[in-house]
Symmetry: D2
Subunit: 268 residues, 4 copies
């Protein structure tokens, strides 16, 4: 059974209120809640699944933090990506342990942390961002999740292209993705997948035009909607409000300019 120690991340959940906190344990620190103060020192040496009480006597349970909760709660200066989208992206881009992936832009590192989580120790994420302060923030966030060493953070405009070639997957989350499709094509391994997130339908239209010009094929556009329910067995119903939109997801595969083998030829 894992024992919690200095530097560990832990997820706090209140049975009474459902309040949650994702904190990094530090000797002498404390967490303020509306149900009272929790001393980090009270958590040290406990294990996930255990409970502590606040100075006002309210229970908080200690749970293993998940990449789901982490990626939604990174310190942010930008819009972040949501698990409903990032989970789907992993499968659509065929990312997995050992993959090399380019992401642009880094933003606050929400998707970066997810990608780095799933490529594992043998994979690599190259994360491009023009604004140094965001890149730094994202690095700090990935550090917290323990995956910063799997990421190469690059502060760089991609107009002149990516440094890598033959990467397994590439994701664009930039305001003007249509301008970088050629660069994406060049960096990607042939037959592999590009993913793009854009918030507006006008951008989808532009990107679709660009993808066809730049030799991308098998294009798909989807939206993913998450509908949360109230957790009440006798009064089961969806939550009153839900997130109505995060973005449109576009996927496409790189077509090679090379070979075309003709089935008509006779020698076969």
């Amino acid at each position: 059974m894992a024992v919690l120690k200095q530097g560990d991340l832990i997820f706090l959940w209140s049975p009474e209120k459902g309040d949650t906190f994702l904190i990094q344990l530090e000797k002498g620190s404390k967490q303020d809640t509306r149900l009272g103060v929790i001393l980090h020192d009270h958590i040290l040496d406990l294990s996930p699944g255990d409970s502590v009480t606040t100075h006002l006597g309210h229970e908080f349970c200690l749970l293993e933090p998940t990449i789901y909760e982490f990626s939604r709660r990174v310190k942010r200066k930008t819009q972040i990506m949501f698990p409903k989208d990032t989970g789907f992206i992993l499968l659509a881009l065929n990312i997995g342990p050992g993959s090399t992936v380019i992401e642009c832009g880094t933003g606050s590192g929400s998707l970066t942390s997810v990608l780095a989580h799933f490529v594992g120790d043998n994979g690599k994420v190259f994360s491009y961002e023009r604004r140094p302060e965001f890149s730094k923030l994202a690095e700090k966030n990935c550090c917290k999740w323990g995956v910063a060493d799997r990421v190469e953070f690059k502060v760089k405009d991609i107009e002149s292209g990516f440094d890598e070639r033959e990467v397994d997957a590439l994701f664009l989350d930039v305001p003007n993705p249509r301008d970088y499709l050629r660069q994406a094509w060049e960096a990607l391994a042939a037959g592999h997948r590009l993913g793009i997130l854009v918030p507006t339908t006008n951008q989808v239209t532009q990107v679709l035009e660009g993808l066809q010009e730049e030799n991308f094929i098998d294009i798909q556009v989807v939206e993913i909607l998450l509908r949360p329910y109230k957790v009440n067995s006798q009064r089961l119903r969806p939550e009153d409000t839900m997130i109505g939109h995060t973005g449109y997801l576009i996927f496409a595969a790189k077509k090679s300019l090379r070979h075309r083998r003709d089935g008509l030829s006779n020698g076969d």
Copy 2:
């Protein structure tokens, strides 16, 4: 650049019709399509991104197969799980390279292949199924994706419990999940996550009641809807029909029966 050889999986996509096939290359085999016949021998030695033509002169592009397409196309004797759900499950259960995961039931191995893909070489999936023919089919499917060695297929009723303890995550996709919550609790590491898929609201109600009885906490219920769009830049619009429902996803964390450290006491 990867060269395609005997036994490789490849994804065929028609620029004209959007028709797709996910095939395993075998010398001397052929693939029938409504656009003509493709000889596997014509594909061998080509690379992803290249094209072949059918005997009627129609082009098919060769694309790297993705776990997205694979998991949707496994040979099946049961209902399968969809990428919109499986991607989300990965994050919600905090699965990743190195994780040990229990899945029950195996079914046709659609989720099994996704789990095995993402736990990597250092992870392990224990997949339980009562019906031997399904377990065998799932193993064959996972074999095709090259991840069967990461899975232990178990033909077994779980009423008497799972063989493993302290697993990182556990997923139930069975007709009567409420009956196996205690067994799930016992197998799971404290503070870690259980996931459940059920198709009906009545089952959600039953499971929610069970979870509260069996010391599960931080319960969440969600539905994920995928809305595909027609890929036409000048006439962008959602597809006329969409999948209206796959299932409700329920997540919860195991609370330990052990420790509760009291913040009121001074001496700690």
Copy 3:
């Protein structure tokens, strides 16, 4: 061209902010807005489509009020019904000019105003409510829309049944609709439709059981979701948040206990 006069309803819309007000004109009154004060006297004698300015110089346009905006903005002490649902109910229950409709409970009169609007001068709405203060509020609201004379407001528990028979349509919006299905069946004309709104899946289950017991047929259950978009031609996208749930709509038809004519017999 209609000229606005004392007692008229008018809808105010700000081109700058999109702020809206639905007001009843009264000599000497004023409307406070964050863009300044509007004097009702400035509106009198103008026509829909014209504009006034606030004392701070900001424009507000005068628009014909719609039953859409009115029914969403009734003074309320209860949850109200939304146009996405009420519009659908009209068609599903085959309500129209001349219909006689029973509604229970009245609540704040949001649906009452919609029903009364559409049954016209030759139709009639019988609106039942147990709590007199709600009935009074609803009457006041319907009065404002000028349709109170088409409604008979009844403060009464329906356990002992409705007073009317052979009504064209009946709608239940009460906490325990399952308890009143027999009463609804008795009041409704044979072959006509009952509608029910319930917020939870558990209630849907109960109502479905009841409907089958009480000789209702052709049962349907639907949810209607409204997805609003941001009005920006160059950045078209759904709103960030949307209403995730109002309720489940259930519809059924009354089967007569009378006649069954047998197609096998020859003599009829």
Copy 4:
């Protein structure tokens, strides 16, 4: 109790299969079903709520037809509009008994029948259509529902404008609505509402641009999604597939070019 006679519409519903038919009674006619033949003569003199049996002994219940079912089942040569959309349009355009409404294009008359149903005997629908065969079909459909006398069917291109002025509401369902916004503005009463249905986001963008140019205000864009459920109290769940898209609904109000009364001046 209404007795069914020659020429009446009646809705047939099978308790066994849920099969439905909307038929017009005609002496000597018969209705084929997969459960056997129903003779119209067997239905004459019965009442809604009663049942008949087919020559194979299967029951069909006789239900009052609804504008909901009728408008979905009109004989069609075009795409039709759905109740989820038409019900909402009624409220958003403030249509009701006594309204005068312009609709363009008529199509198969699905929306026409709904509008004519709700404007009542004192209202009027002016329905424009370029193709005479569609106009004729729509008239026949409205005739069947008994509301053709409330509709003036006009076979006419609207490029040169509508014949009417000061109408209460106007709805455009044409391939190029952006081209007719000026004509719509001219026909509509000031402060009243225009509605438009377009299937693609590109059209929404065009229409939004046009509306701002043509003095329309208070613009709204929405989508309405209908989610049907399986009617099974013990296995309640949404249907496996649903309609993913019908169209985007756009609403706007006509701003007058006339008056603007200034709140700053004191003397008025």
